[in-house]
Symmetry: C2
Subunit: 380 residues, 2 copies
């Protein structure tokens, strides 16, 4: 086990009817900017609940944070927030709204342009923010990370700032999500867990068990969720899995491999693909490419998650990768680049971008531009 | 899944050599009282490491917090702390030192007698405290709870205050622990998990998996730890299990049953038995008594943890309870009251105490004095 320092201060407020707690969680007297994506929160009742809970506050609304939030949009929110003297942010939406709001929170206390913050990779100061989550997927509700895009250059990078002060998760608000978004959310959660797990065995037995616990749960609930999405217990389980999948709880003392995400971000930046959808394509290809290196863990994964206990180690690893790809297919997701009309040009562009920034991802920092190209070739 | 609110702000600093981080974690200028148990920290090098790390601080030492810390001892620490103007506490020791220091932290800001705080059950205000843990068991390093005894009346009650600001866990400091203490620590951790898990299935699949993950890990590592205790990886795993077993992470949205602990506390209060040792006796007896009520979860536990998948449900549950008792025996612990010379008098006294305070423990508040007596009869 590696040495580690862990702290996650976010207050998680979970369950039916919990949005009404908002007015107790935001200090009275704050000037609150509430940030939204599109209009879906007006259809599913979330907007009304938030508005009611914030009756006693001075509220400024900011609408239009898009999927894969862009600095171009967020700059407008920062400007508005500075003008209005905003000192508390409430993000109401999915991971994109939450991520975007993390940059707004930092930007409100920064003199320069917000893209500078993204390029710096982190900000130590930020206006406090809370969240009301409407789409389980990114884990942004209980971590300090965000991913921000820049439209004019088709770039997309991670950015770290403060943890949300609180996050409210009411599973009933997910009942009306488009099924493709639910599928992408399941894939995103699954891959988050895999990137903290799929390195080498024996680093921490407990962390392995906890990662496997999330994978088991997702695999158990996915078929029912994909068929029928208004089951409270199942959506609560999914919501809990998504949060626990990326809040640090399964990463204690273990190495991590975020190469799938880094390659996936490029596919989104270049083609606008939904984040979770890119991961369902890249992860199987990455595992095929790095099968030898990750063999022991693939065998453990195959046995514990998919019950694969026959054949040589290589055969078992291959079978585990096939099972993973089949799982993504069962969610209705594409798992190959040609299914989404992405070809050699993109592969070469990503290799070029990785080389240009001397990229070295993965648990051993050996996923360079060349390796990324091989991975993408294995996604065809 | 039940609605829940979760927040755990403790900063966990884990690994070899981490005690040296102390001076960065305590704000400069603080008047620090360092609290200890007996002298074991002088033999294992912890005292020297702590002293060195705190060179730049004004330090007051308080020695002698005993196993099952008593208000009689803690009152002295509170008095000393008030005299010296202490505004930060550092607990260096096992769960008892940590628990006792939680009461000192609250007592320093309280005018009345500290036992009043214990009877109130909680305190909202307390001086900030950090910890250096030397014995994995109670989870006190990452929760807000403590258990305090009163010698003159042989009473022992839980008390809740603030979370430690930080806790430093260096597995190497556990290499020289007496083996009986390690065994009791494993039993304590195992039972903490069981009390958050052994109710009814289907409340949260993920929480079940995570609880089972800790149980699996403990069962895997225990035989080696009990034989040879200076294996860093195994002791790190044990330390992580003990902390994760009682920091709220496996209790999200599920019901709990703390009856085993409440009965165990009485055995300690009346006979001075080590806490973990009482649990190894009470848990099997409680499961035998409440087998029907907990049948479905016992079957799940038997199958997932002990691989029991044959026989009727009752047979499987009984086999799972036997396996649990055997596990405690394998740690060298007694599992029956007669092994520790406790008889009918004590059983009747505990029934009387439970009745006097209208006790109603367990996930359905149905473990009354009468039920406690039945449980203890089943521990003979």
């Amino acid at each position: 086990m590696e040495n580690f320092v862990f702290q996650n201060p976010t207050k998680l407020i979970f369950g039916k009817g919990m949005i009404s707690h908002l007015n107790k969680e935001i200090p009275q007297g704050k000037r609150v900017m509430v940030t939204f994506g599109g209009g879906s929160v007006k259809k599913n009742g979330v907007y009304e609940q938030v508005k009611k809970a914030l009756e006693s506050f001075e509220v400024i609304e900011f609408w239009g944070i898009e999927a894969n939030p862009t600095v171009e949009t967020l700059r407008k929110a920062i400007q508005l927030g500075k003008e209005k003297g905003v000192d508390f942010l409430l993000a109401v939406g999915g991971g994109s709204v939450l991520d975007g709001t993390k940059l707004i929170a930092a930007g409100l206390l920064y003199e320069g342009d917000a893209w500078e913050l993204v390029l710096q990779g982190r900000s130590a100061s930020a206006v406090p923010m809370g969240t009301v989550l409407t789409l389980p997927a990114t884990g942004s509700e209980m971590n300090s990370g965000a991913v921000i895009s820049r439209k004019e250059t088709a770039e997309k990078y991670p950015f770290y700032s403060k943890y949300p002060v609180f996050s409210i998760l009411d599973p009933t608000v997910t009942f009306t999500l488009p099924i493709h978004q639910v599928a992408c959310g399941i894939a995103d959660t699954f891959v988050h867990v895999m990137e903290q797990y799929m390195t080498t065995p024996g680093q921490s037995r407990l962390m392995d068990r906890w990662a496997e616990g999330i994978l088991h749960t997702l695999i158990e609930i996915a078929p029912d969720i994909i068929r029928k999405q208004d089951n409270y217990e199942l959506m609560a389980e999914f919501m809990l899995c998504a949060t626990m999948g990326l809040n640090g709880f399964i990463a204690l003392g273990v190495r991590q491999d975020w190469a799938t995400h880094m390659i996936g971000h490029e596919l989104t930046a270049l083609h606008g693909l939904t984040h979770g959808a890119t991961l369902a394509i890249v992860l199987p290809g990455l595992l095929r490419t790095l099968r030898e290196k990750k063999l022991a863990k693939l065998v453990q994964y195959g046995e514990r998650i998919w019950g694969i206990n026959k054949g040589s180690e290589v055969e078992r690893a291959e079978r585990a990768i096939e099972k993973t790809e089949s799982f993504f297919k069962s969610l209705g997701l594409a798992t190959r680049l040609n299914e989404v009309q992405i070809g050699e040009d993109t592969i070469l562009e990503i290799e070029k971008r990785f080389n240009a920034r001397k990229a070295a991802y993965g648990e051993d920092q050996d996923v360079t531009g060349t390796v990324a190209r091989k991975i993408l070739e294995n996604c065809k």
